[in-house]
């Protein structure tokens, strides 16, 4: 207990941020599809790159990504980290592996949890597939994918995915 005569230098004032989220047209289509266990990406009308999750436009070309492309839930780990430090925002048992995953047919990776594998065995090039929540729990949310886990396919060579780092 601090001395009652000590001047107060710091007081804790908890603050919180609340906001209304408007996903926009492109993300709404993605979320409606993932509610049906379908992964819908979008192709740029300029460079032809496929974005998932899509945001409606390609930042490189400044063009709309109008064409919808359905992707599989299989992909490749392009890079990863093993998290061994706790965070207030994430309630996961440590250590855990977080991968940068490039879905087959997509041109941009996203981060996802990797499980059903020892963290020491996670490696770039590893082939993985989504593990989904039970159908009864499906929502319009990326959290429908609980994590990715390894599948019995040969690793992809580094040259094939190194441009996606």
């Amino acid at each position: 207990m601090a001395d009652a005569n000590e001047p107060v230098s710091v007081v804790g004032i908890p603050s919180r941020v609340e906001y209304t989220y408007s996903p926009g047209r492109a993300t709404t289509r993605f979320l409606r599809a993932i509610e049906q266990k379908r992964l819908m990406g979008q192709r740029c009308t300029g460079c032809g790159k496929v974005y998932i999750p899509p945001r409606g436009a390609c930042p490189r070309c400044g063009l709309p990504t109008d064409e919808e492309v359905e992707l599989t839930d299989k992909g490749t780990v392009v890079s990863f980290t093993v998290v061994r430090v706790p965070s207030e925002n994430i309630q996961l048992e440590l250590p855990y592996a977080a991968g940068s995953i490039l879905l087959d047919g997509a041109d941009i990776p996203f981060q996802a949890l990797l499980r059903d594998v020892e963290v020491a065995d996670v490696r770039p090039g590893m082939r993985v597939q989504a593990v989904w929540v039970d159908d009864a729990e499906l929502q319009p949310s990326f959290t429908n994918i609980k994590w990715f886990h390894p599948i019995d396919e040969p690793d992809v060579p580094f040259e094939k995915f190194q441009e996606h780092l």
Binding site: S9, V10, I13, S15, V17, Y21, P23, T27, L31, C44, C47, K49, V50, Y51, P53, C58, P59, R60, V78, S79, F80, T81, V82, V83, R84, V85, S87, E88, N89, I90, L92, P95, Y96, A98, G99, S100, D107, I108, Q111, A112, L113, V119, P124, Q139, P140, S141, F142, T143, I145, F158, Q162, E163, H164, L165
Partner: protein, 385 residues
């Protein structure tokens, strides 16, 4: 540029995890007063103030520049705030220099700070986005896969990052203002420190600091009159790119490459490794030293790690990097870029004390921010450009 700009004063605070002895006001005053003292000037000599800091959530105070205006002597003077995430300390100095170079003001005080202990930056950086899955938090989780990407591409030896950390932490021992000091730092100590975000170890990571940095910039005429030797601004450059797009190279971002090219071109530099005497580079995780050596054109692609390995970036190497101990030793985020710029100025003014590079005539300051998407840089010299 129409006018030359000289750095005539450099000031910084004592950096620490918690500066409970000062408020945000006290922190920036400490740096600003030291810069004015170094310049042998007073508040009345300042024409305008440019302030920079990282996101407001880092302290939990919205638009702090409004309540800081008075304490920075801005009453009746122009003031503006710059914000480009972690690179902001650099871009704030660039904006301040451009006000002088454009002939708008003769003497500008520029200040950058962060008082990280007043909130939680890791939390502030990791706000949960609805309908998405958040799997990593903070900068470490974000940058670790990119570091692994660099390791795969370059085939760099796995202990490269450890070597950078030892070098920067040894340099910090020579810097009286540095936050983190490990008097008996060794390879073994870094190697055995806990892995936080594989492959980033605890001692390969920057701290959270409270601190501020300030510079006084003058037009040529006024800089010529200053008692101490100015550092002349030879060139400045800034670049940005989107956080995420298909085919974006996050390990070696195009914006960084382009920014450095413009910087060297404006300064008339064709061989940066040879012509630049030392560089303060924004390295918040040790592996970013070799990554930026390549991005900035000091080394060929895939070869940056060799500079660390061969000792080229050591204080007695051919291109000393992070003489002050760098971001690894001191990281008040908003001020971190300006500390790099300020160190570059100190080097060419010959005022860097124990971490002075003998005979430094041309030095580079560098900062990056966001998801490696904002870059700001300057080159300062002992002679006029």
């Amino acid at each position: 540029m129409a006018e030359l700009c000289g750095v005539v004063g450099v000031g910084q605070t004592q950096h620490d995890a918690k500066r409970e002895d000062v408020s945000q006001v006290g922190l920036i005053r400490e740096a600003a007063e030291r810069a004015l003292e170094d310049a042998d000037l007073d508040w009345k000599d300042i024409d305008a103030v440019v302030i920079g800091k990282a996101p407001d959530l880092f302290e939990g105070v919205m638009m702090p520049e409004l309540f800081l205006a008075d304490s920075l002597g801005c009453a009746g003077k122009p003031m503006l705030r710059v914000h480009t995430a972690g690179s902001v300390g650099g871009s704030t100095a660039v904006v301040a220099a451009s006000l002088v170079e454009a002939g708008i003001h003769d003497r500008v005080l520029t200040v950058a700070y962060e008082k990280q202990s007043e909130s939680n930056a890791m939390w502030a950086l990791s706000i949960k986005i609805p309908f998405s899955a958040t799997v990593v938090a903070g900068a470490g989780g974000y940058f670790a896969p990119l570091i692994r990407g660099y390791m795969m591409r370059s085939g760099a030896p796995e202990d490269t990052g450890i070597r950078v950390a030892v070098k920067d932490r040894e340099n910090a021992l020579k810097n009286p203002y540095a936050h983190l000091k490990f008097p008996d730092i060794s390879f073994e100590q870094v190697e055995s420190s806990p892995m936080l975000w594989d492959p980033i170890r605890f001692l390969e990571t920057c701290p959270s600091s409270d601190g501020a940095c300030a510079l006084v910039l003058s037009s040529e005429k006024l800089a010529d009159q200053s008692k101490k030797k100015p550092a002349w601004v030879h060139s400045t450059a800034m670049r940005s790119e989107p956080t995420s797009f298909a085919g974006r190279d996050q390990v070696n971002p195009q914006a960084g490459i382009d920014c450095a090219k413009e910087l060297y071109k404006k300064a008339g530099i064709t061989d940066p490794r040879k012509e630049i005497d030392c560089a303060e580079i924004y390295v918040p995780f040790s592996w970013f030293e070799p990554m930026w050596m390549e991005n900035l054109g000091f080394a060929e692609l895939g070869q940056g790690w060799k500079m660390t390995y061969e000792g080229a970036t050591a204080l007695d190497g051919d291109l000393p990097v992070n003489m002050s101990g760098g971001v690894l030793s001191t990281n008040p985020i908003g001020a971190s870029g300006m500390l790099r710029f300020g160190e570059a100025a100190m080097q060419v003014r010959g005022t860097a004390g124990e971490h002075q590079v003998a005979g430094a005539r041309k030095a580079m300051g560098h900062a990056y921010g966001g998801g490696s998407q904002y870059f700001s840089m300057w080159i300062v010299g002992a002679e006029k450009p």
